[in-house]
Amino acid sequence: MALFLLYPINITLRRGTRWKRGKRGAGSVRGFAPYAESGGGAPGQPEAKLEVVSLSLVNNLINGVSLGSVYAIIALGYTMVYGIAKMLNFAHGDVIMVGAYICFFICSDFGMSPILGILAAVLVCTLLGVLIEQLAYKPLRQVTSLAVLITAIGVSYFLQNAAQLMWTSNPRIFPAIFGSGGIQLIGDLTIPYKTLVTIGACLVIMAGLILFTGKTRTGKAMRACSEDKDAAQLMGINVNRTISITFAIGSALAAVAGVLLCSAYPKLIPTTGSMPGIKAFTAAVFGGIGSIPGAFLGGILLGVIEIFSSAYLSTELANAIVFLVLIVILLVKPTGLLGKKVSEKV
């Protein structure tokens, strides 16, 4: 109770615990000690206290990385499409949702193995991505990227509403396809398998994408397109085809992301993909849009910041704090963490 005295701003006892001002106030003086202190108010030994503190810190870090790894894997798909096609694909989050539904039906309703589910999701999403690209984005390739942005929003509405009509709005709980346990560290600290799988998948996909864009002909063509479409065209690269391939890859990644998102946070509804999609887009910009390692880094950092700000500052304001940190970082580093500095020409 003494903690409240630190903050004289109109706080009443009834509300006192809502915004953890006390924690932050004391925390700034004694590290993260208030966590231990508020832990039932047990006045433990100093070293025991320290252990609890560092445990909760590590625990929050693990939670942050878990959340961040999900953002990261979505951000990879975002940044891939963005880097090459230079468009904000707002339908990406909804392709994720479709992938998750496909995997859900294969695993849950037909009882087949998760691997088959993921494969089916990848297949369906790739086809869907190519179809969307051909019908809705390709005709607009010559006009401003904003026009495509609006079509992407239309596609996003379409997918959400079609999903609702086909699969109803009742939530489904995605099966824990990677098991519900985890690797136990010390005491209560466990790293869930799903987090490990997600991070592993992120690293594999990242390495794959870097190799693909760096070594293969198609990958090099993609990079050329992202640098300068006209010049790429002059060099004999089929820009249209390259962009279509990018969408196919982006959608396949969305399917994987959908499965991983829903195995970590298993509520599956037709709007499941939209909020993580926006957050992941933020993460991609944070890391430097178009940069593959940047998307990974941005995703992880965003997750950690989100968890830390709700753990140590305020659950009410967590979202605002995340975005505030983003703004500050972008002001210091205006092209994101790992973004290329583009020199401007007149």
Partner: protein, 353 residues
């Protein structure tokens, strides 16, 4: 030649004014004749608010050439400040139209202040980084307003953050109640007020665009480095356009709030920002009449005509949106339209995103 261009421009402006005035006369006479169904009638004032928001965003996106994804944030500031002002004046013997005007003025002013606060850091950034930071500010404004508590009692206004117990005395009244937003607003916005504000905004924008400052702003849009090299102060002019745009969005927000029974912070989220952006892009960047038409159609359509499709309403809306984008941007159709209207050839302004 120069005179010709100016004449052409002002002709275009007068067409816009004319369409707005004509639309107002038609709508007002239909309403006063009592021939309008209540579903449509209830949409008119919010429609005006969305039109104002769309033309103000067109100033940022079309004229200034910066993509903003957080425009609803300024509407939110305008809506909450404006409605608070209107409710604080309630019972003080002020006539409704004056309360309405005061609300719009307060909303616009505070949104302009928010525009400065957001604009100074944001306008240093470029392209998508700028877009994402506006998105971030929009989300921050939403979160802050969700946790804001404002009340009035005989001693004046009381404000609290995160804590609903703001020490209201007896006879006091909660105005902004955190996540519950503002309830019990008396609807004092009128169609006339909406059209007057639309006209004012159009006059401001057209005069700005045709002024020295407007040319500086468009020069910055078309080529920032070239513009700066001839001595245009980039920050100053960008901020000017951005703040004017924010103030208009604030006015739109105040108008909107006073046309509703209840307003919450969640209303002005990312989706609303995107909705306004859709109006702007569909109507054509830099094209004010286009924004007005697009906002009208896309706002009215799903709420009235599409309701007959019941479950398929939003699905059809999505398809309509995609088709509209494809058709208005289709090269063949544009050429065909160009042949039909050969004297109307004009290059559309393009934003560099």
């Amino acid at each position: 030649m120069k005179r010709l261009i100016i004449r052409k421009k002002s002709r275009k402006n007068f067409i816009t004014y004319g369409v707005v005035v004509a639309a107002f006369i038609v709508l007002a006479s239909v309403v006063s004749a009592g021939a309008m169904p209540s579903a449509l009638q209830g949409l008119l004032v919010p429609m005006c608010a969305y039109i104002i928001a769309a033309i103000s965003l067109n100033l940022t996106v079309g004229v200034l050439g910066e993509l903003s994804l957080g425009h609803a944030g300024f509407m939110s500031v305008g809506a909450f400040c404006g409605a608070t002002a209107a409710m604080a004046l309630n019972g003080a013997g002020v006539p409704d139209w004056a309360r309405m005007a005061a609300a719009v003025a307060v909303g616009a002013l505070l949104a302009a202040v928010a525009g400065v606060v957001v604009g100074v850091p944001v306008l240093r950034l470029r392209g998508d980084y700028l877009a994402i930071v506006t998105l971030a500010f929009g989300e921050i404004i939403k979160t802050v307003v969700t946790n804001l508590y404002v009340g009035k009692d005989p001693a004046g206004l009381r404000v609290g953050f995160l804590n609903p117990d703001i020490g209201l005395g007896k006879g006091g009244m909660m105005i902004v109640n955190g996540p519950n937003g503002i309830s019990g607003i008396t609807k004092i916005s009128t169609l006339t007020a909406g059209f007057v504000i639309i006209l004012l905004c159009l006059i401001i924008i057209f005069n700005l665009v045709d002024s020295r400052s407007g040319r500086a702003i468009m020069a910055l849009r078309d080529n920032r480095i070239a513009a700066e090299s001839v001595g245009i102060n980039a920050t100053q002019y960008k901020l000017m356009a951005f703040v004017i745009s924010a103030a208009m969005a604030g006015a739109a927000g105040a108008l909107y709030a006073l046309s509703q029974n209840t307003v919450t912070a969640n209303k002005f989220d990312f989706n609303t920002s995107i909705l306004i952006l859709v109006f702007v892009v569909l109507g054509g960047l830099g094209n004010m009449l286009g924004s007005i038409v697009a906002a009208t159609v896309l706002y009215i359509l799903p709420e009235t005509w599409l309701r007959q499709f019941s479950d398929y309403r939003m699905l059809i809306y999505a398809v309509v949106l995609i088709l509209m984008m494809l058709i208005t941007n289709n090269a063949k159709i544009r050429i065909w339209m160009g042949k039909l209207l050969p004297h109307k050839k004009e290059k559309e302004g393009e934003a560099h995103v």
